[in-house]
Subunit: 107 residues, 2 copies
DNA sequence: ATTTATTATCGTAATATTGCGATATTAAGA
DNA sequence: TCTTAATATCGCAATATTACGATAATAAAT
């Protein structure tokens, strides 16, 4: 096997899990942290900063874009990424809501 | 390849990522949610409740135990799991701290 | 138009994860 | 003690993820 049985879970559970999953890689954490240290947006200084190949960084950026946590803008030859603050806050809230709701009936 | 290069990231990044990763599966989300709906602790009604084999559920429970989010107590023949509320709150805080710190210098 | 720099995508190899049946292990009950 | 019930662990097959080199795509600069 190796397939997650998404059919047996509801949409909320699948979405929440997918969001957690994407944050579940140190490179993606590092990317988000590095982007946030640049007061302006950044491009692929990420490749220099983090010790991964350009293709790999690009792949991770794609994942982060997929859930809307970052957005990219073309800036001449290069690409300027920054955190999508609305989505960021939205996800933080979703996540807190999960934490708060779930712990309610704890023994 | 297929190996996450943990060496190039710091401990905080790796720990945070691992925590997110474990929450990044719908079955584990569902398990946590179901545990919390039981006012007392629960055992493996999880196997009936969630449509996965006993071996699979047991494996997921192991992962959740590994990061301390749940704890199990022997109760006769069966096992009584419940959320570790201290660890739960601790992780929620860690996570919020990541969200708040990271978004600070956003463009 | 050609070159150069930057980023995205493709293809592939290595490893990890998911799920399950089969088999321990443990403890209660007959 | 023998059976029964509940859970954990092992071993495997299927699929997913990670990483990277090679290559395509895009846009500035010459």
């Amino acid at each position: 096997m190796g397939v997650t049985k998404t059919q047996i879970f509801d949409q909320q559970q699948n979405e929440l899990a997918q969001f957690f999953k994407i944050l579940g890689h140190p490179a993606r954490i590092a990317i988000l942290q590095f982007i946030s240290t640049q007061d302006s947006c950044i491009c692929n200084d990420l490749v220099d900063e983090i010790g991964l190949a350009q293709a790999t960084i690009s792949q991770h950026l794609k994942e982060l874009k997929r859930i809307g946590l970052i957005q990219g803008e073309i800036e001449g030859k290069s690409m300027c990424y920054c955190i999508n603050i609305n989505r960021w806050n939205e996800l933080q809230q979703t996540l807190n809501s999960f934490f708060n709701t779930t712990k309610q009936n704890c023994c």
